[in-house]
């Protein structure tokens, strides 16, 4: 269960992600909260265990602050005057939602590789003829969240 201190770290992490346009480091989050870096790292690991963010497998670094991805992916989103990476198609629309902004999703058909561009305005895609396929059932999304 997330305690208030961990929630504070989580909120600061997300705030910094949006301010910086990338994932903050432990030190940047530590400085922002005026808290020891070791405490931030420990909080991130607890938040990872609670699925409130996702860390890299072998380092105390952010991999996902869903819907944002800290690493390049096949889903790029332009929203709020900046380019972002999303973890998947769902998250790509989620970035527009989280930022409360219109946006443009750029990706490609997972089958043929043809470029796909979707403009989102007023929470709706301008072109809604594209299809979204979710291979993994909801009960197993977190079995391997990177694959999901």
């Amino acid at each position: 269960m997330m305690n208030d201190a961990d929630l504070r770290v989580r909120r600061a992490t997300y705030r910094l992600f949006v301010e910086l346009g990338r994932a903050p480091t432990v030190d940047e989050t530590s400085n922002a909260l005026d808290a020891p870096a070791a405490d931030i790292g420990a909080a991130w690991h607890r938040l990872h265990d609670e699925h409130a963010l996702v860390l890299q497998r072998s380092a105390t670094e952010i991999r996902m602050a869903n819907p944002f991805s800290a690493v390049p992916t096949a889903y790029r989103v332009n929203a709020d005057d900046r380019w972002w990476y999303a973890n998947c198609a769902w998250d790509a629309f989620g970035i527009c939602a989280a930022l409360g902004a219109h946006g443009t999703v750029e990706s490609s058909c997972a089958d043929c590789g043809e470029p796909l561009t979707v403009h989102v305005a007023g929470q709706r895609p301008i072109d809604d003829e594209l299809l979204f396929h979710c291979l993994v059932p909801a009960s197993a999304w977190w079995d391997d969240i990177v694959f999901t």
């Binding site: 929630l7 609670e50 198609a89 989620g94 939602a97 299809l131 979710c134």
Partner: protein, 83 residues
């Protein structure tokens, strides 16, 4: 969780694997806004499993495929998945 041009492309991409679930981009965007719009709120709190399930239900994503794993429904007990 990928985008495709058409059902034909999904079928070819699956290559014989069992399909998951397919929805239109409009429904996906509706789901995304219901799911993620609070994520940067200063007072953000993790949702319970049942609250997440209610979002899926509200956009018509019902049935076994969309059933989140059962776990604690206490707020903050998020091992069943904040996503």
């Amino acid at each position: 969780m990928n985008l495709f041009r058409s059902e034909e492309h999904i079928e070819r991409w699956l290559g014989g694997r069992p399909p998951g679930a397919t929805i239109g981009a409009g429904t996906l965007s509706e789901l995304a806004h219901a799911w993620w719009s609070d994520r940067l709120a200063a007072d953000w709190q993790p949702r319970t499993r049942d609250e997440n399930q209610a979002i899926l239900d509200a956009v018509g994503l019902t049935g076994r495929f969309w059933q989140l794993p059962r776990g604690s429904s206490r707020r903050g007990e998020t091992s069943t998945g904040v996503l």
